[in-house]
Protein backbone atom coordinates (compact mmCIF):
# COMPACT_ATOMS: atom_id res chain seq x y z
CA UNK A 1 0.00 0.00 0.00
CA UNK A 2 2.55 2.50 1.21
CA UNK A 3 5.09 1.01 -1.19
CA UNK A 4 2.76 1.58 -4.13
CA UNK A 5 2.46 5.23 -3.17
CA UNK A 6 6.22 5.59 -2.95
CA UNK A 7 6.80 3.89 -6.30
CA UNK A 8 4.18 6.10 -7.89
CA UNK A 9 5.70 9.22 -6.37
CA UNK A 10 9.15 8.14 -7.56
CA UNK A 11 7.89 7.70 -11.11
CA UNK A 12 6.31 11.13 -11.12
CA UNK A 13 9.43 12.59 -9.55
CA UNK A 14 11.73 11.09 -12.19
CA UNK A 15 9.47 12.47 -14.89
CA UNK A 16 9.64 15.89 -13.27
CA UNK A 17 13.40 15.66 -13.01
CA UNK A 18 13.63 14.80 -16.71
CA UNK A 19 11.50 17.85 -17.45
CA UNK A 20 13.79 20.00 -15.35
CA UNK A 21 16.81 18.68 -17.22
CA UNK A 22 15.32 19.45 -20.62
CA UNK A 23 14.22 22.94 -19.63
CA UNK A 24 17.63 23.87 -18.26
CA UNK A 25 19.51 22.31 -21.14
CA UNK A 26 17.51 24.15 -23.75
CA UNK A 27 17.36 27.39 -21.81
CA UNK A 28 21.12 27.53 -21.47
CA UNK A 29 21.73 27.03 -25.17
CA UNK A 30 19.02 28.97 -26.96
CA UNK A 31 19.86 32.29 -25.33
CA UNK A 32 22.97 34.29 -26.19
CA UNK A 33 26.04 34.07 -24.02
CA UNK A 34 28.15 30.96 -23.65
CA UNK A 35 30.99 29.83 -21.43
CA UNK A 36 33.60 30.27 -24.11
CA UNK A 37 32.91 33.98 -24.32
CA UNK A 38 33.45 34.21 -20.58
CA UNK A 39 36.83 32.44 -20.57
CA UNK A 40 38.71 33.61 -23.62
CA UNK A 41 41.01 36.59 -23.65
CA UNK A 42 39.82 39.56 -25.71
CA UNK A 43 42.35 38.99 -28.46
CA UNK A 44 41.47 35.37 -29.23
CA UNK A 45 40.98 34.50 -32.87
CA UNK A 46 37.84 32.97 -34.31
CA UNK A 47 39.76 29.76 -34.86
CA UNK A 48 40.72 29.59 -31.18
CA UNK A 49 37.09 30.05 -30.18
CA UNK A 50 35.95 27.37 -32.57
CA UNK A 51 38.60 25.01 -31.24
CA UNK A 52 37.51 25.62 -27.67
CA UNK A 53 33.87 25.09 -28.60
CA UNK A 54 34.72 21.83 -30.27
CA UNK A 55 36.74 20.82 -27.23
CA UNK A 56 33.72 21.19 -24.95
CA UNK A 57 31.32 19.73 -27.52
CA UNK A 58 29.43 23.00 -27.81
CA UNK A 59 29.59 23.08 -31.63
CA UNK A 60 27.37 20.05 -32.15
CA UNK A 61 23.64 20.43 -32.88
CA UNK A 62 21.44 20.91 -29.81
CA UNK A 63 19.86 17.47 -30.07
CA UNK A 64 23.23 15.76 -30.36
CA UNK A 65 24.56 17.66 -27.37
CA UNK A 66 21.52 16.64 -25.36
CA UNK A 67 21.88 13.02 -26.42
CA UNK A 68 25.53 12.92 -25.42
CA UNK A 69 24.79 14.58 -22.10
CA UNK A 70 21.85 12.27 -21.31
CA UNK A 71 23.92 9.18 -22.11
CA UNK A 72 26.57 10.48 -19.73
CA UNK A 73 24.10 11.24 -16.94
CA UNK A 74 22.62 7.76 -17.15
CA UNK A 75 26.13 6.36 -16.83
CA UNK A 76 26.85 8.67 -13.90
CA UNK A 77 28.99 11.10 -15.91
CA UNK A 78 27.83 14.71 -15.73
CA UNK A 79 30.69 16.01 -17.81
CA UNK A 80 33.58 18.26 -16.85
CA UNK A 81 33.27 21.69 -15.33
CA UNK A 82 34.44 24.26 -17.87
CA UNK A 83 35.79 26.68 -15.30
CA UNK A 84 37.13 24.27 -12.68
CA UNK A 85 38.43 21.63 -15.10
CA UNK A 86 37.32 18.71 -12.93
CA UNK A 87 34.47 16.25 -13.21
CA UNK A 88 31.13 17.78 -12.22
CA UNK A 89 30.39 14.78 -10.02
CA UNK A 90 33.67 15.36 -8.21
CA UNK A 91 32.96 19.05 -7.59
CA UNK A 92 29.47 18.27 -6.36
CA UNK A 93 30.65 15.47 -4.09
CA UNK A 94 33.23 17.73 -2.48
CA UNK A 95 30.80 20.63 -2.00
CA UNK A 96 27.55 18.85 -1.12
CA UNK A 97 28.55 17.75 2.43
CA UNK A 98 29.04 21.36 3.52
CA UNK A 99 25.56 22.29 2.32
CA UNK A 100 23.97 19.17 3.81
CA UNK A 101 25.51 19.86 7.21
CA UNK A 102 24.32 23.44 7.04
CA UNK A 103 20.80 22.61 5.88
CA UNK A 104 20.28 19.81 8.39
CA UNK A 105 21.63 21.93 11.25
CA UNK A 106 19.23 24.68 10.21
CA UNK A 107 16.33 22.20 10.07
CA UNK A 108 17.14 20.89 13.55
CA UNK A 109 17.45 24.41 14.96
CA UNK A 110 14.21 25.49 13.27
CA UNK A 111 12.27 22.52 14.63
CA UNK A 112 13.70 22.92 18.14
CA UNK A 113 13.14 26.66 18.19
CA UNK A 114 9.78 26.65 16.44
CA UNK A 115 8.52 23.65 18.40
CA UNK A 116 9.71 25.14 21.69
CA UNK A 117 8.05 28.48 21.10
CA UNK A 118 4.84 26.80 19.86
CA UNK A 119 4.67 24.69 23.03
CA UNK A 120 5.44 27.72 25.18
CA UNK A 121 2.73 29.67 23.39
CA UNK A 122 0.28 26.84 24.00
CA UNK A 123 1.13 26.75 27.70
CA UNK A 124 0.68 30.54 27.82
CA UNK A 125 -2.58 30.56 25.86
CA UNK A 126 -5.08 33.25 26.82
CA UNK A 127 -2.35 35.26 28.55
CA UNK A 128 -0.35 38.33 27.58
CA UNK A 129 2.55 36.00 26.78
CA UNK A 130 0.62 34.49 23.90
CA UNK A 131 -0.23 37.92 22.50
CA UNK A 132 3.44 38.86 22.54
CA UNK A 133 4.46 35.63 20.81
CA UNK A 134 1.76 36.00 18.15
CA UNK A 135 2.52 39.64 17.48
CA UNK A 136 6.25 39.11 17.19
CA UNK A 137 5.82 36.01 15.08
CA UNK A 138 3.50 37.70 12.59
CA UNK A 139 6.32 40.16 11.85
CA UNK A 140 9.06 37.52 11.82
CA UNK A 141 7.02 35.44 9.36
CA UNK A 142 7.67 38.12 6.75
CA UNK A 143 11.45 38.22 7.15
CA UNK A 144 13.34 36.09 4.61
CA UNK A 145 16.70 34.38 5.14
CA UNK A 146 18.48 37.06 3.11
CA UNK A 147 17.50 39.80 5.57
CA UNK A 148 18.20 37.57 8.57
CA UNK A 149 21.67 36.75 7.30
CA UNK A 150 22.64 40.41 6.99
CA UNK A 151 20.99 41.39 10.25
CA UNK A 152 23.05 38.67 11.94
CA UNK A 153 26.17 40.06 10.27
CA UNK A 154 25.42 43.45 11.82
CA UNK A 155 24.72 41.88 15.19
CA UNK A 156 27.40 39.20 15.61
CA UNK A 157 30.17 40.51 13.40
CA UNK A 158 29.93 44.24 14.13
CA UNK A 159 27.92 45.05 17.26
CA UNK A 160 29.10 42.02 19.28
CA UNK A 161 31.98 40.66 17.22
CA UNK A 162 32.03 37.10 18.53
CA UNK A 163 31.51 35.03 15.40
CA UNK A 164 33.65 34.61 12.28
CA UNK A 165 32.11 36.34 9.30
CA UNK A 166 33.03 33.96 6.49
CA UNK A 167 33.99 30.40 5.69
CA UNK A 168 33.29 27.01 7.15
CA UNK A 169 36.37 26.37 9.29
CA UNK A 170 39.66 28.08 10.10
CA UNK A 171 41.97 27.01 7.24
CA UNK A 172 44.62 25.97 9.78
CA UNK A 173 42.22 23.42 11.25
CA UNK A 174 40.96 22.03 7.95
CA UNK A 175 43.55 19.27 7.90
CA UNK A 176 43.32 15.54 8.37
CA UNK A 177 39.70 14.99 7.52
CA UNK A 178 38.79 11.64 5.96
CA UNK A 179 35.45 12.94 4.64
CA UNK A 180 34.01 16.29 3.71
CA UNK A 181 31.45 16.07 6.51
CA UNK A 182 33.68 18.20 8.72
CA UNK A 183 31.18 18.77 11.52
CA UNK A 184 29.95 15.20 11.79
CA UNK A 185 33.44 13.79 11.51
CA UNK A 186 35.00 16.09 14.09
CA UNK A 187 32.22 15.29 16.56
CA UNK A 188 32.43 11.55 15.94
CA UNK A 189 36.21 11.50 16.28
CA UNK A 190 36.04 13.57 19.44
CA UNK A 191 37.92 16.59 18.06
CA UNK A 192 35.66 18.94 19.95
CA UNK A 193 37.79 22.06 19.59
CA UNK A 194 37.60 21.66 15.82
CA UNK A 195 33.87 21.01 16.03
CA UNK A 196 33.51 24.19 18.08
CA UNK A 197 35.34 26.16 15.44
CA UNK A 198 33.10 24.75 12.72
CA UNK A 199 29.99 25.49 14.77
CA UNK A 200 31.07 29.08 15.32
CA UNK A 201 31.39 29.46 11.54
CA UNK A 202 28.02 27.79 10.99
CA UNK A 203 26.06 29.70 13.62
CA UNK A 204 25.08 32.71 11.52
CA UNK A 205 24.22 30.91 8.27
CA UNK A 206 22.34 28.26 10.27
CA UNK A 207 20.28 30.84 12.13
CA UNK A 208 19.58 32.81 8.95
CA UNK A 209 18.17 29.68 7.33
CA UNK A 210 16.42 28.39 10.46
CA UNK A 211 14.59 31.49 11.69
CA UNK A 212 12.12 31.90 8.78
CA UNK A 213 11.22 28.20 9.03
CA UNK A 214 10.93 28.45 12.82
CA UNK A 215 8.39 31.26 12.42
CA UNK A 216 6.29 29.12 10.08
CA UNK A 217 6.46 26.19 12.50
CA UNK A 218 5.41 28.36 15.43
CA UNK A 219 2.33 29.66 13.66
CA UNK A 220 1.05 26.35 12.36
CA UNK A 221 2.01 24.09 15.27
CA UNK A 222 0.61 26.45 17.89
CA UNK A 223 -2.68 26.60 15.99
CA UNK A 224 -2.89 22.79 15.82
CA UNK A 225 -1.84 22.38 19.45
CA UNK A 226 -4.53 24.76 20.64
CA UNK A 227 -7.11 22.82 18.66
CA UNK A 228 -5.89 19.54 20.13
CA UNK A 229 -5.83 20.87 23.70
CA UNK A 230 -9.62 21.16 23.84
CA UNK A 231 -10.19 17.56 22.74
CA UNK A 232 -11.85 15.12 25.13
CA UNK A 233 -8.78 12.91 25.44
CA UNK A 234 -6.74 15.86 26.71
CA UNK A 235 -9.50 16.65 29.18
CA UNK A 236 -9.46 13.07 30.40
CA UNK A 237 -5.69 13.19 30.81
CA UNK A 238 -6.07 16.46 32.70
CA UNK A 239 -8.45 14.63 35.02
CA UNK A 240 -5.81 11.97 35.54
CA UNK A 241 -3.96 14.83 37.25
CA UNK A 242 -1.27 15.28 34.62
CA UNK A 243 0.65 18.52 34.41
CA UNK A 244 -0.01 21.00 31.62
CA UNK A 245 3.37 20.38 29.96
CA UNK A 246 2.69 16.64 29.88
CA UNK A 247 -0.73 17.27 28.38
CA UNK A 248 0.82 19.29 25.58
CA UNK A 249 3.74 16.97 24.87
CA UNK A 250 2.17 13.56 25.45
CA UNK A 251 -1.45 14.04 24.46
CA UNK A 252 -1.71 16.99 22.06
CA UNK A 253 1.60 17.09 20.21
CA UNK A 254 1.39 13.83 18.34
CA UNK A 255 -2.09 14.58 17.06
CA UNK A 256 -1.19 18.15 16.18
CA UNK A 257 2.13 17.59 14.46
CA UNK A 258 0.87 16.16 11.13
CA UNK A 259 0.07 19.36 9.22
CA UNK A 260 3.18 21.07 10.57
CA UNK A 261 5.35 18.19 9.47
CA UNK A 262 3.91 18.21 5.97
CA UNK A 263 4.48 21.94 5.69
CA UNK A 264 7.96 21.70 7.21
CA UNK A 265 8.86 19.38 4.35
CA UNK A 266 7.81 21.92 1.75
CA UNK A 267 9.54 24.66 3.72
CA UNK A 268 12.71 22.57 3.96
CA UNK A 269 12.98 22.66 0.19
CA UNK A 270 12.74 26.47 0.44
CA UNK A 271 15.46 26.33 3.07
CA UNK A 272 17.70 24.36 0.70
CA UNK A 273 17.00 26.94 -2.00
CA UNK A 274 17.91 29.62 0.52
CA UNK A 275 21.38 28.12 1.00
CA UNK A 276 22.25 29.65 -2.38
CA UNK A 277 22.17 33.23 -1.16
CA UNK A 278 23.06 32.56 2.48
CA UNK A 279 26.18 30.63 1.53
CA UNK A 280 27.08 33.53 -0.74
CA UNK A 281 26.74 36.08 2.06
CA UNK A 282 28.94 34.07 4.42
CA UNK A 283 31.33 32.76 1.73
CA UNK A 284 30.42 29.27 2.88
CA UNK A 285 31.85 26.64 0.53
CA UNK A 286 28.71 24.68 -0.34
CA UNK A 287 26.82 23.93 -3.55
CA UNK A 288 24.76 27.12 -3.23
CA UNK A 289 27.76 29.37 -3.39
CA UNK A 290 29.10 27.18 -6.17
CA UNK A 291 25.86 27.58 -8.09
CA UNK A 292 26.13 31.36 -8.23
CA UNK A 293 29.66 31.14 -9.60
CA UNK A 294 28.63 28.49 -12.09
CA UNK A 295 25.76 30.64 -13.35
CA UNK A 296 27.81 33.81 -13.60
CA UNK A 297 30.51 31.92 -15.54
CA UNK A 298 27.98 30.06 -17.72
CA UNK A 299 29.58 26.76 -16.73
CA UNK A 300 26.96 24.67 -18.57
CA UNK A 301 27.88 21.18 -17.33
CA UNK A 302 28.19 22.37 -13.76
CA UNK A 303 24.88 24.28 -13.88
CA UNK A 304 23.11 21.24 -15.29
CA UNK A 305 24.61 19.01 -12.64
CA UNK A 306 23.66 21.44 -9.88
CA UNK A 307 20.10 21.86 -11.06
CA UNK A 308 19.62 18.10 -11.24
CA UNK A 309 21.14 17.75 -7.79
CA UNK A 310 18.84 20.40 -6.32
CA UNK A 311 15.86 18.79 -8.05
CA UNK A 312 16.83 15.38 -6.68
CA UNK A 313 17.19 16.76 -3.15
CA UNK A 314 13.76 18.39 -3.38
CA UNK A 315 12.17 15.17 -4.56
CA UNK A 316 13.83 13.08 -1.84
CA UNK A 317 12.65 15.53 0.80
CA UNK A 318 9.07 15.36 -0.46
CA UNK A 319 9.06 11.58 -0.42
CA UNK A 320 10.67 11.55 3.02
CA UNK A 321 7.98 13.87 4.35
CA UNK A 322 5.19 11.72 2.93
CA UNK A 323 6.66 8.65 4.57
CA UNK A 324 7.17 10.35 7.93
CA UNK A 325 3.63 11.71 7.99
CA UNK A 326 2.27 8.27 7.13
CA UNK A 327 4.37 6.58 9.81
CA UNK A 328 3.29 9.00 12.52
CA UNK A 329 -0.40 8.65 11.79
CA UNK A 330 -1.56 5.26 13.08
CA UNK A 331 -4.78 5.46 11.09
CA UNK A 332 -2.88 5.71 7.82
CA UNK A 333 -0.43 3.03 8.85
CA UNK A 334 -3.12 0.45 9.45
CA UNK A 335 -5.34 1.46 6.56
Amino acid sequence: MLLAVVVNRMAVALLTLAGVAVVVFVLLRVVPGDPIAMMISPGASAADIAALKAHYGLDAPLLTQFWIWTKGVVAGDFGTSITLHVYVTEVLASRLPATLELAISALVVAIALGGGVAVAGTLLRRTAGETVIDGLNSILLAVPDFIWALALVLLFAVAIPVLPLTGRIDPALAEGFATKFYLAESILTGRLAVAGNILSHMTMPTLALALPLAAVIVRLLKQSLKEAMVQDYVLLARIKGFRELRLVLQEALRNAVGPTLALTGVQFTFLIGGTVIVERIFAYPGIGNLAIDAVINRDFPLIQGLVLLFGLIFILINIGVDLTVATLNPRLRHA
Binding site: D232, L235, I239, K240, G241, F242, Q250, N255, N329, P330
Partner: protein, 296 residues
Protein backbone atom coordinates in the same frame (compact mmCIF):
# COMPACT_ATOMS: atom_id res chain seq x y z
CA UNK B 1 -16.98 2.01 57.43
CA UNK B 2 -19.46 4.54 56.17
CA UNK B 3 -20.08 8.27 55.97
CA UNK B 4 -19.83 10.80 53.18
CA UNK B 5 -16.99 10.40 50.75
CA UNK B 6 -17.98 13.45 48.75
CA UNK B 7 -20.08 16.25 50.17
CA UNK B 8 -21.26 19.01 47.87
CA UNK B 9 -22.64 21.75 50.06
CA UNK B 10 -24.80 24.65 48.90
CA UNK B 11 -22.96 24.91 45.58
CA UNK B 12 -24.03 27.92 43.52
CA UNK B 13 -22.81 28.96 40.08
CA UNK B 14 -23.69 31.51 37.42
CA UNK B 15 -23.07 31.74 33.69
CA UNK B 16 -21.02 34.82 32.90
CA UNK B 17 -21.87 34.67 29.22
CA UNK B 18 -25.59 34.50 29.72
CA UNK B 19 -26.29 37.64 31.75
CA UNK B 20 -25.13 36.05 35.01
CA UNK B 21 -27.92 33.48 34.77
CA UNK B 22 -27.78 31.15 37.75
CA UNK B 23 -26.97 27.57 36.73
CA UNK B 24 -26.61 26.03 40.19
CA UNK B 25 -28.74 27.16 43.10
CA UNK B 26 -27.36 26.02 46.45
CA UNK B 27 -27.06 22.38 45.43
CA UNK B 28 -26.16 19.95 48.19
CA UNK B 29 -25.59 16.26 47.78
CA UNK B 30 -23.53 13.61 49.50
CA UNK B 31 -21.99 10.48 47.99
CA UNK B 32 -21.41 7.90 50.69
CA UNK B 33 -18.54 5.45 50.82
CA UNK B 34 -19.22 2.50 48.57
CA UNK B 35 -22.41 3.93 47.17
CA UNK B 36 -23.54 4.67 43.62
CA UNK B 37 -25.26 8.02 43.69
CA UNK B 38 -27.36 9.04 40.69
CA UNK B 39 -27.44 12.66 39.58
CA UNK B 40 -30.46 12.99 37.32
CA UNK B 41 -31.87 15.81 35.27
CA UNK B 42 -32.45 16.96 31.71
CA UNK B 43 -29.66 18.62 29.76
CA UNK B 44 -28.98 22.09 31.08
CA UNK B 45 -30.11 21.17 34.56
CA UNK B 46 -26.57 21.69 35.87
CA UNK B 47 -25.46 18.06 36.21
CA UNK B 48 -22.26 18.43 34.27
CA UNK B 49 -21.41 21.73 35.98
CA UNK B 50 -21.37 19.82 39.28
CA UNK B 51 -19.22 17.07 37.79
CA UNK B 52 -16.84 19.64 36.28
CA UNK B 53 -16.64 21.58 39.53
CA UNK B 54 -15.57 18.41 41.34
CA UNK B 55 -12.94 17.74 38.68
CA UNK B 56 -11.70 21.32 38.64
CA UNK B 57 -12.40 21.85 34.94
CA UNK B 58 -15.03 24.57 35.05
CA UNK B 59 -15.32 26.36 31.70
CA UNK B 60 -14.23 29.99 31.73
CA UNK B 61 -17.75 31.32 31.28
CA UNK B 62 -19.01 29.63 34.45
CA UNK B 63 -18.29 31.12 37.87
CA UNK B 64 -18.79 29.37 41.19
CA UNK B 65 -20.43 31.88 43.50
CA UNK B 66 -20.69 29.89 46.68
CA UNK B 67 -20.62 26.58 48.51
CA UNK B 68 -17.96 23.96 48.99
CA UNK B 69 -17.05 20.52 47.70
CA UNK B 70 -15.82 18.46 50.60
CA UNK B 71 -13.60 15.48 49.81
CA UNK B 72 -11.42 13.70 52.36
CA UNK B 73 -11.83 16.58 54.76
CA UNK B 74 -10.72 19.24 52.26
CA UNK B 75 -12.61 21.69 50.05
CA UNK B 76 -11.74 20.82 46.44
CA UNK B 77 -12.66 24.35 45.38
CA UNK B 78 -9.89 25.88 47.47
CA UNK B 79 -7.08 23.55 46.41
CA UNK B 80 -4.19 24.96 44.42
CA UNK B 81 -3.78 23.50 40.90
CA UNK B 82 -0.88 21.44 42.19
CA UNK B 83 -2.83 20.04 45.15
CA UNK B 84 -5.77 19.28 42.87
CA UNK B 85 -3.51 17.44 40.41
CA UNK B 86 -2.35 15.24 43.28
CA UNK B 87 -5.95 14.32 44.10
CA UNK B 88 -7.13 13.84 40.53
CA UNK B 89 -6.25 10.52 38.99
CA UNK B 90 -5.18 9.08 42.31
CA UNK B 91 -8.37 9.61 44.35
CA UNK B 92 -10.89 10.80 41.78
CA UNK B 93 -11.31 9.42 38.27
CA UNK B 94 -13.69 10.01 35.40
CA UNK B 95 -15.53 7.68 33.05
CA UNK B 96 -16.29 10.03 30.17
CA UNK B 97 -19.38 10.34 28.07
CA UNK B 98 -18.10 9.68 24.57
CA UNK B 99 -15.54 6.88 24.22
CA UNK B 100 -14.93 7.79 20.58
CA UNK B 101 -13.26 11.09 21.47
CA UNK B 102 -11.88 10.37 24.93
CA UNK B 103 -9.03 8.15 23.78
CA UNK B 104 -6.02 9.78 22.20
CA UNK B 105 -6.00 8.55 18.58
CA UNK B 106 -2.20 8.74 18.39
CA UNK B 107 -1.46 6.56 21.42
CA UNK B 108 -1.81 2.82 21.87
CA UNK B 109 -4.07 1.45 24.57
CA UNK B 110 -1.14 0.22 26.67
CA UNK B 111 0.34 3.72 26.76
CA UNK B 112 -3.03 5.21 27.64
CA UNK B 113 -3.61 2.70 30.44
CA UNK B 114 -0.16 2.60 31.96
CA UNK B 115 0.72 6.30 32.12
CA UNK B 116 -1.64 6.91 35.03
CA UNK B 117 -0.46 3.80 36.84
CA UNK B 118 3.15 4.84 36.49
CA UNK B 119 2.76 8.50 37.33
CA UNK B 120 0.04 8.30 39.93
CA UNK B 121 0.76 4.92 41.50
CA UNK B 122 4.51 4.78 40.94
CA UNK B 123 4.47 1.43 39.17
CA UNK B 124 7.32 0.37 36.90
CA UNK B 125 6.58 0.05 33.20
CA UNK B 126 6.54 -3.73 33.50
CA UNK B 127 4.25 -3.81 36.53
CA UNK B 128 1.97 -1.21 35.02
CA UNK B 129 1.57 -3.31 31.92
CA UNK B 130 0.77 -6.44 33.95
CA UNK B 131 -1.77 -4.43 35.91
CA UNK B 132 -3.30 -3.07 32.69
CA UNK B 133 -3.61 -6.61 31.42
CA UNK B 134 -5.36 -7.71 34.61
CA UNK B 135 -7.67 -4.70 34.46
CA UNK B 136 -8.74 -5.48 30.91
CA UNK B 137 -9.42 -9.04 32.08
CA UNK B 138 -11.57 -7.59 34.81
CA UNK B 139 -13.72 -5.61 32.37
CA UNK B 140 -14.21 -8.84 30.41
CA UNK B 141 -12.10 -7.99 27.41
CA UNK B 142 -11.33 -11.29 25.77
CA UNK B 143 -7.91 -10.71 24.26
CA UNK B 144 -6.18 -8.14 26.50
CA UNK B 145 -2.80 -8.42 24.77
CA UNK B 146 -4.27 -7.62 21.38
CA UNK B 147 -6.24 -4.70 22.80
CA UNK B 148 -3.20 -3.32 24.64
CA UNK B 149 -1.32 -3.28 21.36
CA UNK B 150 -4.15 -1.59 19.48
CA UNK B 151 -4.90 2.00 18.63
CA UNK B 152 -8.30 3.38 19.65
CA UNK B 153 -9.64 3.43 16.09
CA UNK B 154 -9.20 -0.35 15.94
CA UNK B 155 -11.69 -0.92 18.78
CA UNK B 156 -15.48 -0.77 18.86
CA UNK B 157 -17.33 1.83 20.92
CA UNK B 158 -18.22 -0.67 23.62
CA UNK B 159 -14.64 -1.90 23.82
CA UNK B 160 -13.34 1.64 24.13
CA UNK B 161 -15.74 2.36 26.96
CA UNK B 162 -14.58 -0.81 28.72
CA UNK B 163 -10.99 0.35 28.35
CA UNK B 164 -11.90 3.74 29.79
CA UNK B 165 -13.73 2.11 32.71
CA UNK B 166 -10.78 -0.17 33.36
CA UNK B 167 -8.43 2.82 33.28
CA UNK B 168 -10.65 4.79 35.66
CA UNK B 169 -11.05 2.01 38.24
CA UNK B 170 -7.47 0.80 37.68
CA UNK B 171 -6.00 3.68 39.65
CA UNK B 172 -8.02 2.50 42.68
CA UNK B 173 -9.66 5.88 43.16
CA UNK B 174 -12.00 6.55 46.06
CA UNK B 175 -14.50 8.28 43.82
CA UNK B 176 -15.39 7.68 40.18
CA UNK B 177 -17.47 10.19 38.32
CA UNK B 178 -19.38 8.50 35.51
CA UNK B 179 -20.55 11.27 33.18
CA UNK B 180 -23.37 9.82 31.07
CA UNK B 181 -21.17 6.80 30.36
CA UNK B 182 -23.77 4.98 28.25
CA UNK B 183 -25.42 7.70 26.17
CA UNK B 184 -23.06 7.31 23.22
CA UNK B 185 -23.45 3.53 23.11
CA UNK B 186 -25.89 1.05 21.53
CA UNK B 187 -28.78 0.01 23.74
CA UNK B 188 -27.51 -3.58 23.96
CA UNK B 189 -24.06 -2.44 25.02
CA UNK B 190 -25.51 0.05 27.52
CA UNK B 191 -26.78 -2.70 29.82
CA UNK B 192 -23.44 -4.53 29.83
CA UNK B 193 -21.59 -1.34 30.66
CA UNK B 194 -23.97 -0.53 33.51
CA UNK B 195 -23.53 -4.00 34.97
CA UNK B 196 -19.78 -3.65 34.60
CA UNK B 197 -19.63 -0.35 36.45
CA UNK B 198 -21.76 -1.75 39.27
CA UNK B 199 -19.61 -4.91 39.51
CA UNK B 200 -16.32 -3.01 39.58
CA UNK B 201 -17.69 -0.52 42.09
CA UNK B 202 -18.75 -3.31 44.43
CA UNK B 203 -15.50 -5.21 44.09
CA UNK B 204 -13.31 -2.18 44.73
CA UNK B 205 -15.60 -0.47 47.22
CA UNK B 206 -15.51 2.68 45.12
CA UNK B 207 -18.00 5.50 45.47
CA UNK B 208 -19.59 6.48 42.16
CA UNK B 209 -21.34 9.67 41.17
CA UNK B 210 -23.44 8.53 38.22
CA UNK B 211 -24.51 11.48 36.11
CA UNK B 212 -27.35 10.71 33.72
CA UNK B 213 -30.53 11.94 32.13
CA UNK B 214 -31.72 8.36 31.81
CA UNK B 215 -33.86 7.36 34.77
CA UNK B 216 -33.93 3.77 33.54
CA UNK B 217 -30.16 3.50 33.83
CA UNK B 218 -30.15 5.25 37.18
CA UNK B 219 -32.82 2.88 38.50
CA UNK B 220 -30.63 -0.08 37.54
CA UNK B 221 -27.43 0.81 39.32
CA UNK B 222 -27.91 3.65 41.81
CA UNK B 223 -28.41 3.26 45.55
CA UNK B 224 -29.55 6.79 46.01
CA UNK B 225 -30.27 9.66 43.66
CA UNK B 226 -30.57 13.41 43.41
CA UNK B 227 -32.98 14.97 40.94
CA UNK B 228 -31.88 18.31 39.52
CA UNK B 229 -33.98 20.81 37.58
CA UNK B 230 -32.79 24.22 36.41
CA UNK B 231 -29.89 24.09 38.83
CA UNK B 232 -31.96 23.23 41.88
CA UNK B 233 -32.35 19.98 43.79
CA UNK B 234 -35.91 18.75 43.39
CA UNK B 235 -35.71 15.50 45.22
CA UNK B 236 -33.18 13.33 46.98
CA UNK B 237 -33.32 9.88 48.53
CA UNK B 238 -33.02 6.14 48.10
CA UNK B 239 -33.62 5.17 44.47
CA UNK B 240 -36.38 2.69 45.16
CA UNK B 241 -38.30 5.10 47.36
CA UNK B 242 -38.02 8.06 45.05
CA UNK B 243 -39.06 6.07 42.00
CA UNK B 244 -41.88 4.28 43.78
CA UNK B 245 -43.36 7.41 45.30
CA UNK B 246 -41.98 10.56 43.71
CA UNK B 247 -42.95 13.45 45.93
CA UNK B 248 -42.04 16.21 43.55
CA UNK B 249 -44.08 16.93 40.39
CA UNK B 250 -40.89 17.28 38.33
CA UNK B 251 -39.72 13.79 39.25
CA UNK B 252 -43.12 12.46 38.27
CA UNK B 253 -42.85 14.29 34.98
CA UNK B 254 -39.34 12.93 34.45
CA UNK B 255 -40.52 9.42 35.22
CA UNK B 256 -43.34 9.80 32.74
CA UNK B 257 -40.93 11.00 30.08
CA UNK B 258 -38.71 7.95 30.46
CA UNK B 259 -39.46 4.79 28.60
CA UNK B 260 -40.47 2.14 31.10
CA UNK B 261 -39.06 -1.30 30.55
CA UNK B 262 -41.98 -2.82 32.43
CA UNK B 263 -44.59 -0.89 30.47
CA UNK B 264 -43.25 -0.54 26.93
CA UNK B 265 -46.48 0.95 25.61
CA UNK B 266 -46.21 4.04 27.77
CA UNK B 267 -43.47 6.54 28.34
CA UNK B 268 -41.87 9.43 26.52
CA UNK B 269 -44.72 11.66 27.51
CA UNK B 270 -43.73 15.29 27.49
CA UNK B 271 -43.58 17.09 30.81
CA UNK B 272 -47.10 18.46 31.32
CA UNK B 273 -47.20 22.22 30.70
CA UNK B 274 -48.82 22.92 34.05
CA UNK B 275 -45.91 21.18 35.79
CA UNK B 276 -43.38 23.27 33.88
CA UNK B 277 -45.27 26.48 34.66
CA UNK B 278 -45.42 25.60 38.35
CA UNK B 279 -41.71 24.77 38.41
CA UNK B 280 -40.76 27.98 36.67
CA UNK B 281 -42.77 30.00 39.13
CA UNK B 282 -41.16 28.18 42.02
CA UNK B 283 -37.65 28.69 40.68
CA UNK B 284 -38.27 32.31 39.75
CA UNK B 285 -39.29 32.97 43.34
CA UNK B 286 -36.01 31.43 44.44
CA UNK B 287 -33.57 34.33 44.70
CA UNK B 288 -30.03 33.04 44.44
CA UNK B 289 -28.29 36.31 45.21
CA UNK B 290 -29.95 36.61 48.60
CA UNK B 291 -28.64 33.21 49.57
CA UNK B 292 -25.12 33.59 48.25
CA UNK B 293 -22.39 34.40 50.76
CA UNK B 294 -21.80 38.14 51.08
CA UNK B 295 -18.64 38.26 49.02
CA UNK B 296 -19.00 34.97 47.14
Amino acid sequence: MSGSRLAVEALSAISLRDGNRPILRRVSLAVDTGEVHGLVGESGAGKSTIARAILGIIPSQVKITGGRIGFEGRDLLTLSPKELRAVLGRDIALVPQDPSTALNPARRIDALMTDGLRLKRGLSMKDARLRAHALLDEVQIRDPERVLGSYPHQLSGGMRQRVLIAAAFGLEPKLVIADEPTTALDVTVQKQILRLIRALQERHGTSVLFVSHDLGAVAKICDRLTVLYMGKVMEQGATAEVLAAPRHPYTRALLAANPRYDRPDTGLEPTPPEVIAALRAEIAAFDVSSEAPPDG
